[in-house]
């Protein structure tokens, strides 16, 4: 569908999704952002760029990732559901990608852009470390020096990923301001970028930041939704009834949702991190608990106080505790096309263990939030309905966090 009413046409020429998005950056960065927009426009129109991207997706990342019918999980959630209740659950296995998460899709796209633009140095921010690992991976693959900014607290709770990044040749620099998590890492990356504009490409890890980042990250991640659509058509001969994905910045969710936005029969639920509960200050649900504001280059829903000071998010998942959300999600929320729910730390821990035991898959804590909502909604749906949940990362990195939360000594 490409009618004027398409929900897939955004952003507009100024990078706005409705009243969200835009290019709220310091003047030093503005020419770079405009330059990136020009280069991305040219790359999109260049079949050679797409061919290069697709080739790496197939041979380096290992795409397409399977769309897997989770039979035992489906049966598990049918127990205790009403008669004929319990939707059929498919998992989009993006945790099987090289580096273990969806983040690599975007990194491949962005490093190809960096090379097109003649940039010779890569920087990135990371929260859980998945984006940092994916960035360090592509930087190694293409032989570019790479600096990853990571909150000092995240470095502490994600040691395996820190070591992975170092093995891959990246320099991991701790961000020591604020709560020392993803937001602060992003501030540090922006400070680096503004001081190294001549040679540095900033690979932003989620569908947020100044235009054109939300658009290009979405486009690179949309491989998830396009594959899902084709795979489900092959398996079931139809569209899904419900798509579910976790939301930090929201790149895996927008990647899954975007190719389906113009299909009114497809319900979509994005799952924010409710941390210790939405009624506590310790959550990271920007839509449920925030209001529109400007941070990190875009206008979007933010956790903030009455003066516009940013409130730090909390989630057991380091990949979700960002106080903002990609601007396209803010827009999809404001027009009601996508529903946004939340899952607490405890919900996610339950769902994490559920998937381990029913399917023999250890999920990351991020998609465990999506699985918590699958657990909530599947029993309310009929047996012939189909859910696709995005399993956007594997849980190896999280076993220490989970052990601690479960009171297990390792």
């Amino acid at each position: 569908m490409s009618s004027a009413a398409s929900l897939r046409a955004g952003p507009d020429a100024r990078g706005h999704f409705g009243s969200f998005g835009g290019r709220y950056v310091a003047e030093t960065l503005m020419p770079l952002v405009l330059d990136l927009e020009r280069h991305y426009g040219a790359a999109k129109a260049d079949p050679a760029f797409k061919a290069q991207f697709d080739h790496l997706m197939t041979h380096y990342v290992g795409r397409p990732s399977p769309l897997y019918f989770a039979e035992r999980l489906t049966e598990h959630l049918r127990e205790g559901a009403g008669p004929d209740r319990g939707a059929k659950i498919y998992l989009k296995r993006d945790e099987l990608n090289h580096t273990g998460a969806h983040k690599i899709n975007n990194c491949i796209g962005q490093i190809l852009l960096a090379l097109r633009m003649g940039k010779t140095r890569i920087i990135a921010e990371t929260g859980a470390g998945q984006h940092g690992v994916a960035t360090a991976t592509v930087a190694a693959r293409f032989g570019l020096p790479c600096v990853i900014y990571m909150g000092a607290k995240d470095i502490e709770r994600q040691k395996p990923n820190v070591f992975r990044m170092r093995l891959l040749g990246a320099e991991v620099r701790p961000a020591t301001s604020g709560r020392q998590t993803l937001k602060d890492a992003m501030n540090e990356a922006l400070r680096d970028w503004v001081a190294n504009v001549h040679d540095t490409f900033y690979i932003i890890g989620t569908a947020a930041g100044p235009h054109p980042y939300p658009e290009l990250v979405r486009d690179f991640q949309s491989v998830i939704g396009h594959e899902t659509r084709a795979q489900l058509d092959a398996a079931e001969g139809r569209l899904p009834d419900l798509l579910v994905a976790a939301i930090g910045g929201g790149s895996n969710a927008i990647g899954l949702f975007h190719p389906f936005l113009d299909e009114p029969s497809v319900r979509m639920v994005g799952v924010e991190a409710a941390g210790r509960g939405l009624d506590t200050p310790d959550h990271a649900a920007s839509l449920a608990g925030g209001e529109p504001g400007v941070l990190h280059g875009n206008k979007t829903f933010l956790l903030q106080d009455a003066d516009g000071q940013i409130i730090e998010g909390h989630s057991i998942s380091a990949g979700l505790d960002y106080p903002g959300i990609g601007p396209e999600h803010s827009w999809l929320h404001s027009i009601g096309r996508v529903e946004y729910q939340s899952a607490t730390d405890d919900d996610a821990l339950d769902a994490f263990q559920m998937l381990c035991r029913t399917e023999g898959i250890i999920p990351a804590l991020e998609p465990s939030h999506a699985l918590a909502v699958v657990k909530r909604l599947a029993p309310t749906m009929s047996r012939d309905e189909i859910i696709v949940a995005n399993l956007c990362g594997r849980g190896d990195k999280d076993i220490f966090t989970v052990a601690e939360a479960l009171g297990v000594e390792m």
């Binding site: 835009g22 290019r23 400007v294 941070l295 990190h296 206008k299 516009g308 000071q309 940013i310």
Partner: protein, 276 residues
């Protein structure tokens, strides 16, 4: 160019300095650092030291264009409980004490836009503020803030940088007023100063493109540096070096700031005469 470009305290301050044959000294401190109660005496020390224009920083949790000195100042201020209402109180009392000294609020978009640009502009105007510098509202997002400021007769001070090329410069100048702030280093506040030759070239380029005063900042900390910049620019902006004095001396900072700012203003006052 917008209306009001030649009216008000801000253009008058630059005109006075020009008539004296010198650049204007523009000084920055973060409001509420170390506490809201300390800021009045710090601002007075800036004026007593010879500052022509005061930039009052609005603290923000995420000052991503700032180096460590101003980051820490933001944290100290917010840690002391500084609210937007305190900043406006500080501005209001400054205006009462110094009816002629221009006061510019400088900060990031989110605290300015939080309750709506119109509310912010109205409150700033009522508090006696002359202009606004917003780090992360570039010309491309002007409608988020610019129209509200212009409707209240507040100057929107725009920034130009080493990356602002000739093609882009007219976009930056469109709607700029008060003065043009040339950020002489592609980087964050408080680090190294740009080479004087590159500043000279940039200022000449900017002055050829606009009639509003051009002030140069980022990395200027010694009287010698300030004097060198003052030979070519209409204004010299000093921020991190003053903010560091606040960090070092806390509520005892006014004494140190007064003598430091005086060393700058004295160097600037004679800089063009030395040249001649």
């Amino acid at each position: 160019m917008s209306a009001g470009v030649t009216e008000g305290r801000l253009p008058a301050a630059f005109a006075r300095a020009a008539a004296d044959g010198r650049a204007a000294l523009v000084t920055f401190v973060t409001g509420g650092d170390p506490t809201p109660a300390d800021t009045a005496a710090i601002l007075d020390a800036l004026v007593e030291g010879g500052a022509d224009v005061i930039e009052l920083g609005m603290p923000f949790t995420d000052p991503m264009a700032d180096g460590m000195a101003i980051q820490l100042a933001n944290l100290r201020s917010l840690g002391a409980g500084t609210r937007t209402a305190d900043l406006l109180d500080i501005a209001r009392s400054f205006r009462a004490r110094h009816p002629q000294v221009p006061l510019v609020l400088m900060g990031y978009a989110n605290p300015m836009l939080r309750r709506g640009a119109d509310v912010f502009a109205a409150e700033a105007q009522a508090a006696g503020v002359d202009g606004i510098i917003c780090v992360d509202v570039p010309p491309e997002e002007d409608d988020a803030l610019g129209p509200a400021l212009r409707a209240r007769g507040l100057h929107l001070v725009r920034l130009a940088t080493p990356t602002t090329d000739a093609v882009r410069l007219p976009t930056v100048l469109e709607g700029a007023s008060g003065f043009l702030y040339y950020v002489s280093v592609a980087g964050i506040t408080g680090l190294q100063q740009a080479a004087q030759a590159s500043i000279d070239t940039a200022v000449a380029r900017l002055k050829a493109a606009t009639d509003i005063p051009v002030a140069v900042g980022f990395g200027i900390r010694t009287p010698e540096q300030a004097a060198a910049v003052a030979r070519v620019a209409d204004g010299v902006v000093v921020g991190s070096a003053i903010v560091e004095l606040v960090g070092l001396h806390g509520s005892q900072a006014p004494y140190h700031i007064r003598s430091y700012v005086r060393s700058l203003s004295e160097a600037i006052a004679v800089s063009r005469k030395e040249l001649a």
